[in-house]
């Protein structure tokens, strides 16, 4: 540590150059931080802690529905604590462009028990249970579409025709606005939840079927056997099921968007390759200029190893400094991005593992970048360097 001031002083020998290089490194690691957040959103879609849910859907395809009669039978599977069901709706409010602002799902009231991350006041829950046309809207969607409790909202364009209106328009009464229990779950606030019984009576076809079931298990260790037991119920029927943990279900869905990991990896490879070249050049320049000074250090008795260490430490410090600032900036920017998108984007904050990977990259790049100049500094012949040769 006693050499630190030497390294620090050498780093800022040329302030402008160091500043520019720091800013380049900062840009690279800002990107690293942002892309890591993107990747982790796709690698592990956010899920609420401590819930052990299984998603039961049709084995044939996601759009195929299941008979409502399965409810009783799933409920009776040992280790199943609770079962809820839901149906995808797929309409829009006012403008087809709003479709992604507010996903509509028909649910049974028990759904709210299985999803503790949906935070709703007791009054509003009561109102939902007592109003057949009642609907609950997530806070983010309510804000974005400027909706409040008491509003009647017509939803159009779903596959399901409404017997009472004769077309695909369904009108719901907003009786509650819910929040997500954790910031990382804010994605669910872009939902409109309404009652499955109202939906089931009104719909023109497919009565008595549900889109998917959600089964809560008492212990995650039992997930596998419970899933097998649920799938066994409808084996060889015309409505075979596929039961998987919610995580696996979400992951499979997200994977269909594309190989985000590969894209992110390719971009980071290009960024880091460029960065290595850029800072490598800076370090080479810095060491070239300082050859006489390094010769003096060696004259005074600094060993080869310490000269090597000094130069390497300088390049590592350069990258770690810029990289840390970049990651910090990413850390500040991500919540701002999330807030700015009104809940549509929901990047997780930069976690410990990203910091550790980032630091490993910084140190690794620092070593790669500093090694050649450091070896040059180490191998210099004092007599030649002092004579300016």
């Amino acid at each position: 540590m006693k050499y630190f001031h030497l390294v620090w002083a050498a780093l800022f020998r040329r302030k402008t150059r160091t500043l520019f290089t720091l800013l380049s490194v900062l840009a690279a690691f800002l990107l690293f931080g942002l892309l890591a957040a993107v990747r982790s959103t796709f690698d592990a879609p956010p899920s609420a802690a401590g819930v052990n849910r299984l998603v039961v859907s049709s084995r044939i395809s996601i759009i195929q529905s299941l008979p409502q009669s399965l409810l009783q039978r799933i409920q009776s599977v040992p280790d199943v604590k609770d079962v809820a069901y839901a149906n995808w709706f797929g309409g829009y409010y006012q403008d087809p462009k709003n479709q992604q602002q507010m996903f509509q799902i028909a649910i049974n009231p028990g759904y709210l028990d299985v999803y503790p991350e949906i935070v709703l006041s007791a009054d509003q829950r009561k109102a939902f249970e007592s109003t057949r046309t009642g609907a609950l809207i997530g806070e983010a969607a309510a804000k974005a579409l400027n909706l409040k409790i008491g509003d009647k909202i017509p939803i159009k364009g779903a596959i399901f025709t409404n017997k009472s209106s004769g077309d695909t328009t369904w009108t719901f009464d907003i009786v509650g606005i819910f929040k997500a229990s954790e910031a990382k779950m804010r994605g669910i606030e872009n939902q409109l939840l309404f009652r499955w019984d109202y939906f089931n009576e009104g719909r023109g076809f497919g009565e008595g079927t549900v889109g998917w079931y959600i089964a809560q298990v008492d212990d995650p260790k039992h997930s596998e056997q419970v899933a097998a037991a649920i799938d066994a119920i409808s084996a060889n029927s015309d409505h075979e099921t596929k039961t998987q943990t919610e995580e696996a279900f979400n992951l499979a869905f997200v994977k269909q968007l594309g190989d985000i990991g590969l894209i992110v990896g390719a971009i980071m490879a290009a960024v880091f390759f460029t960065l290595v070249l850029l800072t490598g050049n800076t370090m080479a320049q810095a060491v070239r200029e300082r050859i006489p000074e390094l010769a003096v250090l060696k004259t005074l008795g600094f060993s080869n190893a310490s000269v090597l260490g000094l130069v390497l430490a300088e390049s590592i410090l350069l990258i770690v400094l810029g990289g840390t600032l970049g990651l910090l900036l990413a850390q500040v920017l991500l919540p701002a991005l999330n807030a700015g998108s009104g809940g549509r984007m929901n990047f997780p904050p930069i976690g410990v593992s990203t910091w550790i990977t980032g630091l490993v990259w910084m140190i690794g790049i620092g070593i790669v970048v500093g090694l050649l100049p450091a070896l040059r500094g180490m191998r210099l012949r004092i007599v030649d360097a002092l004579a300016g040769r």
């Binding site: 006693k2 050499y3 001031h5 030497l6 002083a9 050498a10 800022f12 020998r13 006489p292 000074e293 003096v296 250090l297 060696k298 004259t299 005074l300 008795g301 600094f302 060993s303 080869n304 004092i382 007599v383 002092l386």
Partner: protein
């Protein structure tokens, strides 16, 4: 007095490209402890090479060289570096201070190689700066100091770890007369009052007058010696 430096049959050959250049031919020389020796000679005579060899910056091609009873011609690079840090102080024509460090930090540099604590390093460096009369300039960077002041900081750096031997390569070559006198006076007092053995390369006869002995080198051999003081 005992000999601090004993040189026997010392030769140094450089290869520059395909050419072999013998810079020193079979030099024999003893330098007594407490001596102040001026090495003179035309450029290319090998005086800096001899100085570098004595200071342990370079290794001879032939012959033996012992300083303070230790054969330094046989030391490897690492051992030589360690030896230099304990036994020799260097003073150069262009001072060779590190530009981004203050005078104080420049003087402390050699102490980083010792086991001294930070407080002790600071104290020793202050004493050395005081000795060269620059205590009040401790926090200045080299480019804020005059040439003479920079050379005095360099001298403070050379003596801070208390070596027996000071090796000076044209210490006044870049200084005006007055500053040169100050620096030479300082070297004299270090020799006289603190018992440092000093070897100084110079081509300035006035500078050489401050030494106890003067040796002349020509084409790699010692030609004559003369008592001065």
């Amino acid at each position: 007095m005992a000999n601090l430096v004993e040189i026997r049959n010392l030769s140094k050959t450089y290869t520059r490209g395909k050419q072999k250049v013998e810079v020193l031919h079979h030099v024999n020389l003893d330098i007594a402890e407490g001596d102040f020796l001026a090495l003179m000679g035309p450029s290319g005579s090998g005086k800096t090479t001899l100085l570098n060899l004595i200071g342990g910056l370079d290794s001879p091609s032939e012959g033996t060289l012992s300083v303070g009873g230790q054969r330094i011609d046989q030391l490897g690079e690492g051992a030589l570096a360690k030896w230099r840090s304990n036994h020799v102080g260097f003073i150069f024509q262009f001072y060779n201070l590190l530009p981004m460090l203050s005078a104080q930090k420049n003087v402390e540099l050699p102490l980083l190689l010792t086991k001294l604590s930070a407080a002790q390093r600071k104290k020793n460096a202050s004493i050395a700066l005081q000795l060269v009369g620059l205590a009040e300039r401790a926090s200045h960077k080299p480019n804020e100091l005059s040439g003479g002041q920079q050379q005095r900081v360099a001298i403070a750096r050379a003596i801070v770890s208390d070596p027996q031997l000071l090796v000076c390569d044209e210490p006044t070559g870049d200084l005006d007369r007055q500053s040169a006198e100050d620096v030479l006076g300082l070297l004299q007092s270090l020799n006289r009052d603190h018992g440092k053995t000093i070897i100084m390369v110079t081509h300035d006869p006035k500078a050489a007058e401050h030494a106890r002995h003067v040796l002349h080198l020509d084409k790699g051999t010692l030609v004559e010696s003369a008592e001065v003081a």
